[in-house]
Each structure stands twice: as C-alpha cells, then as structure tokens.
C-alpha cells in the first residue's frame, strides 16, 4: 500500500471535557509530498487539532496518523520529539519569538534540538533569514521588528532546519493584508524548495492562494 507523505485514516479526537468534545470525527486525509495545502474552516471546526495530530504534537483518540510511512501511535514520546526536531517545522499565529534573542538567535534556536553545532546553526539561520528577506534584520530583537517581519523570522526558524513538512497555524491571523501576503510568499518559497506546506486558516480568501484547499467543518473533512 502506497501512503501519502501525510496520511490520516479514520482519525478521531475527543477531548475529555464535560461533556466530551469531539474535535475530529473519522477523518481521512492524504497530503502528498511537496504539496502546498490550506486547511480551511471556521473557528472551532477542528483545524488546529488536525495540525496537532499531523505535527505529532498530540495523539488521536482513534485512527491512524501516518507521516513519511511511519505510523505515529507506534512512536515513543522521545521519538516523536526527534521526529519534530528533524522533519517538522511549525509557524504559529503568535510567532513565539524569544524577546531577549535577536532574529538570528531565534532562528538558530529552532535547530537547537537537532544536535547541530552552534556555528552551523548560525550559518543556517543567516541563510534562512536571507530566504525570507530579513538578512539585514538578523541582529534585531523581536521588539524592533514589525508583526510581518516577526512572522517571517518565525518562518525562517521553521524552515532553517530543512524540514520535510511545515505546518503554519493561522500564520497571517495577526497581520495586515500586505504583511500577510509577504508571509504567504515565504511559505510558498519554502514549498518550492521541496517542503510539504500545510497552512491552517479560517480565511477563505487566503486559502485560495494555495494549490489545494481542504475544508473542515465540525470536526469532519468536507472536501
């Protein structure tokens, strides 16, 4: 059986709240290697849960999550951590940049757990910042950067380690339209270098900028 780069089979996720919250129900989804996909749906539809499962941040209540031919439920916590450090890059709506570090240091921190030497981390951080057009801002701290620039630093951090897949959760949610557009361009560029890129968004207009849209509603993939 040939599996897609990311493959979900009958995946359900139930949060043990009172009453239990069914975030995903029997989801089947294939995302091929090198695809540029937008997962789109309204707030509370289960998009972020989907990202957490595909990004090995969480485990499903039922079903199988396959990534690069490996079924995630068979991995230990340490193996999942290693998979995240080597194969997966994340971009979040809130950027999560460390305020006391420069842009370069923030990007280099993204490769900390990959076991790379500091000099190599710095070199790759500089190269990644150049890829997102922020080479000149490498020595600036997040407080000295605009929101769009901060998000591009976060993208540089996600792609600097050469991941196989990049997940972006509402990457333009906190940005104006022009900055959002630049962020999309950076994600598209990352995709052109070979990474599978999955973007979570509630913005249909933004989703249309990507090659494929996956619609999620009430925990189910609708198309």
């Amino acid at each position: 059986m040939r599996l897609a780069h990311l493959a979900l089979r009958q995946v359900s996720k139930v949060y043990p709240t009172k009453p239990p919250l069914h975030a995903l129900r029997d989801v089947n989804l294939d995302i091929e290697r090198g695809e540029l996909v937008a997962v789109v749906g309204p707030s509370g539809s289960g998009k972020t849960t989907l990202l957490s499962l595909m990004g090995l941040l969480d485990t499903p209540t039922a079903g199988e999550v396959w990534i690069d031919g490996v079924e995630a439920s068979g991995l230990t916590e340490a193996q999942r951590s290693r998979a995240r450090s080597d194969q997966i890059g994340f971009v979040f709506q809130q950027f999560y940049l460390l305020s006391s570090l420069t842009a370069r240091e923030n990007v280099a921190t993204g490769m900390l757990y990959q076991g790379l030497a500091p000099t190599e981390r710095r070199a790759r951080a500089d190269a990644a910042l150049e890829r997102v057009g922020l080479a000149a801002r490498a020595s600036h701290r997040p407080g000295e950067l605009s929101g769009g620039e901060q998000q591009r630093v976060a993208i540089a951090r996600a792609i600097a380690g050469d991941p196989a897949v990049v997940f972006a959760d509402e990457p333009t949610g906190a940005l104006d339209q022009a900055s959002g557009r630049m962020v999309v361009d950076c994600l598209r560029a990352a995709n052109q270098t070979g990474a599978t890129v999955v973007v979570i968004t509630h913005d249909l207009g933004l989703a249309e900028l990507f090659d494929r849209q996956v619609h999620v509603l009430d925990g189910e993939v609708t198309g």
């Binding site: 990534i67 995240r84 194969q87 757990y113 057009g133 050469d162 361009d185 560029a189 052109q192 070979g194």
Partner: protein
C-alpha cells in the same frame, strides 16, 4: 537510502523563489546531513544538548527577566549572608578571644602532683624527676618550666622586717625557659644567665616586686641572706601564683635547698594544640602511675570560649536555615510564575523537538542558577557585614573557609529543590495545551 524530498530540494536549488514580494532571490541550503527518512530518524540514538547550549538555555530566563531573577536571588542571598555573618562574627570574636588568651599565656598546661585517692588529705604522689625532660619530647610542646617551691623559705624586703610580715611572697626555683613558656617579658632587668644562676640573685614576679617595693639593683632578704634582684617580670594575669613569687638563682638555690620535689611543671603547647597535649600529659609525666598526676590548664578558657561559640553557631545555623527556607520559597514562587508565563515558550520548545527531560532540566538549572547567583551575593554580603562588624570592634576579621565554600553550594541545592516542582510541571505540559495557553 535517499529522501526524495531532499532530492527535490536540491534540484530546485537554482530556481529563483519569491520571498516577500520584491525580495531578492532566495538561497537554498545544502541538506544538513545525509537525509534520512522518518523511520530511520526515530531509531537514532537519543541526542543530548551541548553543555554550552544547556547553559545558554538555562540562563535565558534570568537574563530576560533580570530584575525578577535578582529579587529571587536576593532571598537566597539574605539567607546565605545571615549564615556567613553569623558564622564569621563569632569566628572573629573567637580569633580575638584566642589571641587575647595567647597573649596572656592561655596555651599553658600546668602539671601538679596528684593524690593517692580522691580524699584531699590523702598522700601526695610526687612528680618524677624525669618528667620535665619527658614532657619536652612531646612534639607540639614548645616550652617547659619546672617549679620547685621552697615552702619554709620566707622573702623579706630587708633584714629589718619582722618575721611575721613576709607579705605572702613565695620563694621558688624555676628551672627552664620561664619567659618563653609563660610568654612573659621582663618589666626590667634580665633573667638568669650561666653566671647569675650560681650566685645569690633573684628575679621577682611583678606582684612580688610591688609588695616588696623593690626593683632591679635592690637586695632582698631571704632565709637569712641577701639576694640581688636582677630582674622583674611583667604582670601575668592568668598565672597569678607566678606573679607573687621570688625566683631564686637555680643553681645556687639548688645547692642550698637540695632535693626539693617538683611542685609543678608549666608546659607551653603550640597554638591550638593544648587540648591534644593535655590528653597525653599524665601518661608522659608519670608512665607508671598516670592517675597520680593532676593536669590543669589555663587553656580551659578555650573550652569555655568554644562552648559559647558553639551555642552562637547553632543559633546562626538555625537562623540561616530559616532565611534559606524563605529564600527557597521565593525561588519556587518565581519559578512557578515563570513556568506559567512561559507556557508558550515551553510549547514552542516541545514543537521544536525538546524532550520532556530537556524542558525539566532547563527550568531546574534556571532555578539552580538563580540559587547560585544568590549564594555568591550572600557570601559577599555576609563577608562585608562581618568585615564591618570587626572593623568597628577593632577585631581580627575571620570567616570559616567552609562557610565561603558551602554558601554557593547550599544555595544551589536550595534552588534545585525549589525549582523541582515547577520544572516537572513545565515538563509535563502537553505541547498543544502549552501552545494554546497564550
């Protein structure tokens, strides 16, 4: 086996890519290493962070929130400072006390003849004549003086004084290094030399000279003959029986009063060795009958001083421990708040591949770092307080070395203990919960 993704990354290396609209062409990096598929990656050995990376990560929080970390460290610093100062001040006092006792001859041990039994009027066991030489061979002994009392010999200012008015001045023969052993100087004149030992000369204790009202150059009347006073000793506060004695020329007096028993032996021990020397004294003086030897010591004053110091030290350890506990609670509080505030960072690090143990280690080391900084501050503060105290009291400055060494160590332990719970809490945070927290 090669990863198709990485092949595609390399093949697209020459394509210009759009980044940031009008931005310059993007640059594609070379792959990190021989690309490995996920099933190979997850089988690799567990990676450890480099020590410098561990250190940089652990100090990131305190460096970012310097004021808060400093205030937390201050709690520990006060505890350590209390410990250092409360150890240092009594140590300085003790050093001063010992110096004062030493100045007055308190490292002295005095050996007297013992009795047959505990009854006061039981027979006296004389000290063996070999005792002074034997005692002199004890390694830490730096001076020995044998004293023979001339019990029936009375001392007068001159031959006109009525027999009943001797002024309670004893006559004695002192053989050995009196000046060195008793650590006393001459107020005037000199001690016996090879010549004066053999002629009727005398050296007076300060009290004796005062009571007799004589000085060097005068003569005193002892046992129906004149003795020339050649020296007067300085006052000895702690050896008053020596102070009211007239010491007669040893060789001349020994001929006059042969076979006088040893009344006492004064032994000077090296600094701090009086206790050890006392332990072996009785057996050395009279190996055949150690129970027949009475050993007393002006060094008993040391014991009294140490008892007071011990009480002070116990109190200071108690106070220091209390202050450290409060400091530890401060660190725990800071770390709990730090973990709550930095849940996003925890989530991000987990997303970037940090294991739970690495997150726990980061926060434990951060707490240890705050504790260590507090410990260093505390030692400095405590030392300064002790210095101020001793300066004002014109005392010698002394802090036990172990306090300086243990201060930062103790504070690191306090930091680790205080940081343990918050760190485990941070490590147990699910990445999704941590990322959702903001």
């Amino acid at each position: 086996m090669k990863n198709p993704l990485r092949r595609s990354a390399r093949t697209s290396a020459n394509q210009p890519a759009k980044a940031g609209g009008s931005q310059e062409d993007t640059q594609v990096l070379a792959p990190i290493a021989v690309p490995a598929p996920l099933n190979e990656i997850v089988q690799q050995r567990r990676r450890r962070l480099r020590p410098m990376d561990v250190l940089a990560t652990a100090t990131l929080g305190p460096r970012t929130r310097l004021v808060r970390a400093s205030l937390s460290a201050l709690g520990i610093a006060i505890g350590i400072a209390a410990l250092v100062a409360l150890q240092g001040i009594p140590a300085s006092q003790q050093a001063e006390f010992r110096a004062e006792l030493d100045r007055q001859g308190a490292n002295l041990i005095v050996v007297y003849p013992g009795h047959e039994s505990a009854e006061p009027d039981s027979a006296v066991i004389p000290l063996p004549e070999t005792a002074p030489a034997m005692v002199g061979r004890i390694a830490p002994v730096t001076g020995v003086l044998a004293r023979r009392d001339l019990a029936d010999v009375l001392v007068y200012r001159n031959n006109m004084i009525p027999a009943g008015q001797s002024g309670s001045i004893s006559a004695a023969i002192a053989d050995g290094d009196l000046l060195g052993t008793l650590n006393v100087n001459l107020a005037e004149g000199r001690w016996f030399d090879a010549a004066s030992r053999t002629v009727p000369t005398a050296v007076l204790g300060n009290g004796a000279a005062e009571r007799l009202g004589v000085g060097v150059g005068a003569r005193i009347w002892v046992d129906n003959r004149w003795w020339a006073v050649i020296g007067v000793l300085e006052r000895m506060e702690l050896a008053q029986e020596m102070d009211s004695t007239a010491f007669l020329a040893p060789d001349y007096a020994a001929d006059l009063y042969p076979e006088q028993p040893l009344a006492s032996i004064y032994v000077e021990a090296a600094h701090g060795k009086a206790g050890a020397v006392r332990l072996v004294m009785a057996a050395t003086v009279n190996p055949a009958n150690p129970r027949g030897v009475e050993v007393a010591g002006l060094s008993d004053y040391y014991a009294a001083g140490e008892l007071v110091d011990d009480m002070f030290r116990t109190l200071s350890v108690g106070l220091g421990a209390l202050a450290l506990l409060i400091g530890g609670i401060g660190i725990a509080n800071t770390m709990v708040v730090a973990v709550m505030e930095r849940r996003g960072e925890v989530g991000l690090r987990r997303a970037m591949g940090a294991r739970t143990g690495q997150i726990a280690l980061q926060f434990v080391l951060e707490a240890a770092f705050i504790g260590f900084a507090g410990g260093i501050m505390g030692v400095a503060l405590g030392a300064y307080a002790t210095f101020l105290y001793t300066s004002l009291g014109d005392m010698a400055f002394a802090i036990p070395w172990w306090v300086v060494a243990a201060g930062p160590g103790i504070s690191v332990v306090v930091g680790v203990l205080a940081g343990l719970y918050p760190s485990l809490k941070a490590a147990r945070l699910s990445p999704t919960v941590a990322l959702r927290a903001i």
